[in-house]
């Protein structure tokens, strides 16, 4: 299994480097040991690649849309070539890591508020990756639980108290 992961990492890295080259973006790709969100729910088989270089905002795009397209295509190509499927995470200049840290602080802060007020709180609409971070962050919280509501672009996380209101 460990060998598989190394192979997949290598293939993913080559595919990503080729795509960046074809996009005319000069950048360096470094594999990372894992992604911080996994602290909450370990998924040791995921492959994380970080892209470093100058002026990479263009690779992230509005609400990270370009980055998620890039990641999606790398997953599809690597899946087709290796006939295995591992969740490949692509980050640009630690963008997702920073976003992840910010979302975790937000989750903890709102959880405290929900615990005190005993009133559910609905967050802004977020992409799937961001919602997942909130869910994972609060999965083991003793006083609140999370749900998602709404469809597509408007899908948002609701943080609810575990005890019913008085």
């Amino acid at each position: 299994m460990a060998e598989d992961k190394e192979d997949v990492t290598e293939v993913a890295r080559e595919v990503l480097e080729t795509l960046l080259d074809l996009l005319g973006v000069s950048a360096r790709v470094t594999p990372l040991p894992g992604f911080l969100v996994e602290e909450a729910a370990p998924a040791p088989t995921s492959v994380t690649l970080n892209v470093e270089g100058e002026d990479l905002g263009i690779l992230i795009g509005r609400r990270g849309q370009t980055l998620s397209s890039l990641q999606y295509l790398v997953r599809i190509i690597v899946g087709h070539q290796t006939k295995t499927w591992l969740p490949i995470v692509i980050d640009v200049e630690g963008y997702k890591q920073r976003r992840c840290n910010a979302l975790q602080s937000l989750a903890w802060r709102i959880a405290e508020q929900v615990k005190t007020t005993k009133t559910p709180f609905t967050l802004e609409p977020m992409p799937a990756f961001d919602r997942r971070i909130i869910h994972l962050t609060l999965a083991t919280h003793p006083d609140v639980y999370t749900e998602s509501s709404g469809e597509g672009e408007a899908r948002r996380v609701v943080i609810l108290p575990k005890v019913p209101p008085d």
Binding site: L22, T66, S69, L73
Partner: protein, 76 residues
Amino acid sequence: MKELVEFIAKSIVDAPDEVKVDEETNEEGLMTLKLQVADEDKGRVIGKQGRIAEAMRTLLRVKAAKAATRVRLEIV
């Protein structure tokens, strides 16, 4: 532009030799890429709910923005 689509398509189809991309530019400078693949591979380059085609278009937009042009992708 063409090479980007060609690389992605060839990497996800079962018949890479049948991948063909034609590039046309009209008077207004709008470039159209026509991607042709084997019939059995059409679904692969489109993807569920068009997700793969959409992702290719997103990357094309990045490249087009860098070159200050516009580009369209058609799957024929």
